[in-house]
């Protein structure tokens, strides 16, 4: 074994954690190598240096102070602990903020995906024109309301408004009932326009 091997084994040697043959080889090497002998002495000195400073005694009223602290904690600040058999999580502001943010992101992602799926399903079934029609109806109804308000100012009574509103609803219902027919007619018209 060379000096590098010996230095690598010095700590196990000092810990008596080597086999008999390695131990003998190291001892033999140490007798004739000043450098490795110095290294061994430095390891021993630094190790024993840790013992040099003593440990003070714990204070006499340690237990008394501890029990007072425990009882104060019990009465003043009950700990909010979420405990599984082996897991203990203490909720605090630092824990809740990222959790809340994650939940918000997940909800937003869920809503987005759901909307995309619904849109794809509806476009696959050809339902989107109905949406357009309903939107148009809503806009028309809004403008009707505005018109009625204007009419009211110009002398139309509430009974008249009711009749007008019912007529609009009947028209809408009729249009939805004949939607398939109207759609076919649009297609035929478009075909005619394109020269089929």
């Amino acid at each position: 074994m060379n000096c590098q091997d010996i230095k690598r084994l010095l700590i196990p040697y000092l810990e008596s954690d080597l086999s008999g043959s390695d131990k003998a080889a190291i001892e033999e090497h140490l007798h004739k190598c000043d450098g490795c002998q110095k290294e061994k002495m430095l390891l021993e000195k630094t190790w024993s240096m840790l013992d040099a400073s003593g440990t003070p005694q714990v204070s006499k009223n340690f237990t008394e102070n501890l029990m007072a602290k425990i009882h104060t904690q019990k009465t003043v600040k009950p700990e909010f602990v979420f405990a599984f058999p082996q897991i203990r999580i203490q909720f605090g502001f630092r824990t809740l903020v990222p959790v809340a943010a994650s939940v918000c992101v997940l909800i937003a992602a869920y809503i987005f995906v759901q909307n995309q799926l619904t849109y794809k399903q509806q476009s696959a079934k050809g339902l989107l024109p109905i949406e357009t029609a309903m939107q148009a109806t809503k806009e028309s109804a809004d403008s009707t309301v505005t018109k009625l308000e204007e009419d009211e100012r110009s002398g139309i009574t509430a009974a008249d408004e009711e009749i007008i509103r019912n007529l609009d609803v009947y028209e809408d219902i009729e249009m939805y009932q004949n939607y398939a027919l109207l759609n076919d007619m649009d297609i035929v018209e478009n075909m005619g326009a394109k020269g089929f």
């Binding site: 700590i11 196990p12 810990e15 954690d17 430095l42 390891l43 000195k45 630094t46 190790w47 240096m49 840790l50 013992d51 040099a52 400073s53 003593g54 440990t55 003070p56 005694q57 714990v58 204070s59 340690f62 237990t63 102070n65 501890l66 029990m67 602290k69 425990i70 904690q73 700990e79 602990v81 405990a83 058999p85 203990r88």
Partner: protein
């Protein structure tokens, strides 16, 4: 396997509502817990706070305690975790290890019993040595420091340290090797002055 040493019996009785048993456990282990905390943190006030926190954690965890190993294994594990947590908090306030160190009443050197009435020069040498040791220990990575505290100061076997830390015995030996090499590097200057 169920262990039933005296500590475990006390702990089980504490679980059944006998608070006196908890106080007895504190009395039995307070010095040991304090010693470990002191080795991690280096001053009396912090060590005493950390030691109290260890027992508070044991008190709070009392209902969930199950005697799966020696009580002291559990105690050491809680102690190690609490001390490391305190040390991390404290480290954020620590200035560079090259900065001048002013020893105060809680520092290591002034707590040493002094039966032979050393001279001021000897005091100064002791203080310098203790500061060097403290700085060298503080410079160790947490795992190496833990192994040194448990092996050197608590004189625990590799197996017990492995049980407490959750490392393999081989990893414990490796950490001890690196810790000793690091300490040698850090403290070599002290001998070369």
């Amino acid at each position: 396997m169920e262990y039933l040493d005296d500590d475990i019996r006390l702990m089980l009785r504490f679980q059944n509502g006998e608070e006196d048993c908890f106080e007895e456990l504190v009395e039995r282990h307070k010095q040991r817990v304090f010693n470990i905390a002191y080795r991690y943190l280096g001053n009396i006030a912090d060590a005493e706070d950390a030691a109290q926190q260890v027992f508070i954690n044991i008190y709070n965890a009392g209902k969930r305690y199950k005697p799966k190993a020696q009580f002291t294994t559990w105690l050491y594990t809680i102690c190690k975790n609490t001390c490391l947590k305190t040390f991390r908090k404290k480290r954020s306030n620590i200035v560079s290890i090259d900065a001048d160190v002013n020893l105060e009443k809680d520092d290591v050197s002034l707590q040493i019993p002094d039966p032979n009435a050393p001279t001021p020069l000897e005091n100064a040498i002791d203080a310098e040595r203790d500061t060097a040791v403290k700085e060298a220990m503080d410079s160790l990575p947490e795992n190496q420091k833990t192994v040194i505290v448990l092996y050197k100061y608590e004189e625990l076997s590799y197996d017990r340290i492995a049980e407490i830390t959750g490392f393999s015995v081989k990893a414990v030996k490796s950490l001890l090797y690196r810790a000793r090499m690091n300490l040698k590097e850090k403290l070599a200057d002290y001998f070369n002055r």
